[in-house]
């Protein structure tokens, strides 16, 4: 994935964040979305290590102020700090309108695998299991294929699940896809790509409407 397509993906994903929402961005790609939010958007960014109202990446870092991904962030007018139990009370209690999470695999039916590759990589789930199960809306942001070129969007996850059937939308460097009752639907496509190229890189059936496809 080129830095250009990465930036385009992040910029597109940032548009998922709507005014009035409380939003949690997962570790990795998702926290990078923070830099792409419009400065005047009324939104509360939540970080599971105990911040509501996360501000932009700090120009003058405070050693005690990081987001869940370890980035030095800043406060804004109206920021609040709290402990980890209170933070996950927000998550489990349904106060998070949207979470955007990374993925090892995501299925066409909204299953997410993101926390363990048995025998290879076992970092632990962190807060992802609870975010994926309890946020009001779950989006995934991921490269469309892995480093070996294999699809990360699959018919059925081969890895242990983080949550089952909770993902509504998938942002990749190639496409925006929605999980619908009919199946996975291509809703936007990266500029310059063909539907065939996206289908080729996708491990499950991809529904495409009749009308013209928006690009990003």
């Amino acid at each position: 994935m080129s830095s250009g397509s990465s930036e385009r993906m992040l910029r597109r994903a940032a548009r998922e964040v709507q005014a009035g929402m409380t939003v949690n961005l997962g570790i990795g790609l998702p926290t990078q979305i923070l830099a792409y939010l419009p400065p005047d958007l009324e939104v509360c960014m939540h970080s599971e290590n105990g911040i509501a109202g996360v501000g932009p990446i700090a120009l003058n870092p405070d050693r005690n102020l990081i987001d869940a991904g370890g980035a030095y962030v800043s406060v804004m007018p109206g920021t609040a700090f709290f402990d980890s139990a209170t933070s996950f009370a927000m998550v489990r209690g349904g106060r998070i309108d949207l979470t955007m999470l990374g993925a090892f695999e995501v299925s066409g039916t909204g299953d997410l695998a993101s926390w363990i590759i048995p025998g290879k990589f076992t970092p632990g789930a962190g807060g992802a299991i609870e975010l994926a199960q309890k946020a009001r809306r779950v989006a995934v942001i991921t490269t469309h294929v892995d480093k070996a070129g294999r699809p990360k969007i699959v018919e059925k996850c081969s890895l242990p699940l983080t949550a089952k059937g909770r993902v509504s939308r998938i942002f990749t460097d190639m496409a925006v896809c929605d999980v619908t009752p009919e199946g996975l639907r291509l809703v936007e496509i990266a500029e310059g790509l063909s539907v065939g190229e996206v289908r080729q890189a996708t491990g499950t059936v991809l529904l495409v409407g009749d009308g013209p496809l928006a690009t990003f």
Partner: protein, 230 residues
């Protein structure tokens, strides 16, 4: 990225409360009791309410206004000993009263706020007071399943609020307020002072804004708030 503004008129905020709703009300005695919100709820005459509060205040104050106006179907409280009206109405079966030990009341409210189904506690174990509860064993110890106490609304009294709903409470006026903020599906907070975002130190917030839906200015500091009886 400014945070959303949640300020709301008192009448509009309280009009969300519907007949038959379960309403948590903050406060332990006078401190932390949202008398202005309660008065508006009396004015609007919303009926058939289940009120969850530590106590029933004293006669002629707060929850007693709702009892007197016949708006309360049920009280869930830890004690009502300071309100003879409430005791009389309970004995006359004019209001149903469910007693919950004070710490369990707090914990069951918090459990709802934390998105838990309940907690397991050994309070009242092996006493008749524990009757009717489901017993479970955890790590070799017996306890009761204590279900989370949810509510449709919470009425909160804060000393200060910013427009996003970050709240600060004064002294012993904190009590059940932050827990009820968490637990209700919709939380209405009155504040003695509403300040702009940024006026409250992020370290000093007692109830973070994501738990609060409406921030309401108080038209006046009713006499009830200021009672000093020596």
């Amino acid at each position: 990225m400014p945070l959303p503004d949640k300020t709301c008129g008192m009448e509009d905020a309280v009009s969300r409360i519907f007949d038959g709703a379960t309403v948590m009300i903050g406060g332990f005695g006078v401190p932390g009791t949202p008398f202005c919100l309660i008065r508006e709820l009396v004015r609007q005459g919303t009926k058939n309410l289940t009120i969850v509060k530590n106590d029933a205040n004293k006669p002629g104050m707060g929850v007693d206004w709702l009892l007197a106006s016949g708006q309360v179907r049920k009280l869930v409280v830890s004690h009502i000993g300071l309100n003879a009206n409430a005791v009389r109405m309970m004995n006359a079966r004019e209001v149903e009263v469910e007693f919950v030990p004070q710490g369990l009341l707090a914990e069951r409210i918090r459990a709802a706020g934390a998105g838990l189904l309940g907690v397991v506690s050994d309070i009242m174990i092996d006493t008749p007071a524990g009757a009717g509860r489901t017993q479970v064993e955890v790590a070799g110890k017996r306890g009761y399943l204590e279900p989370a106490l949810t509510a449709d609304f919470a009425l909160i009294h804060a000393e200060r609020a910013d427009t996003f709903g970050n709240l600060c409470f004064a002294a012993s006026a904190r009590n059940f307020n932050p827990l009820m903020c968490m637990a209700a599906r919709h939380t209405i907070a009155e504040a003695e002072t509403i300040v702009p975002q940024g006026a409250i130190d992020p370290h000093a917030v007692h109830a973070p804004g994501p738990f609060v839906h409406d921030v309401v200015a108080m038209p006046e500091l009713l006499e009830a708030y200021g009672v000093i009886r020596l």
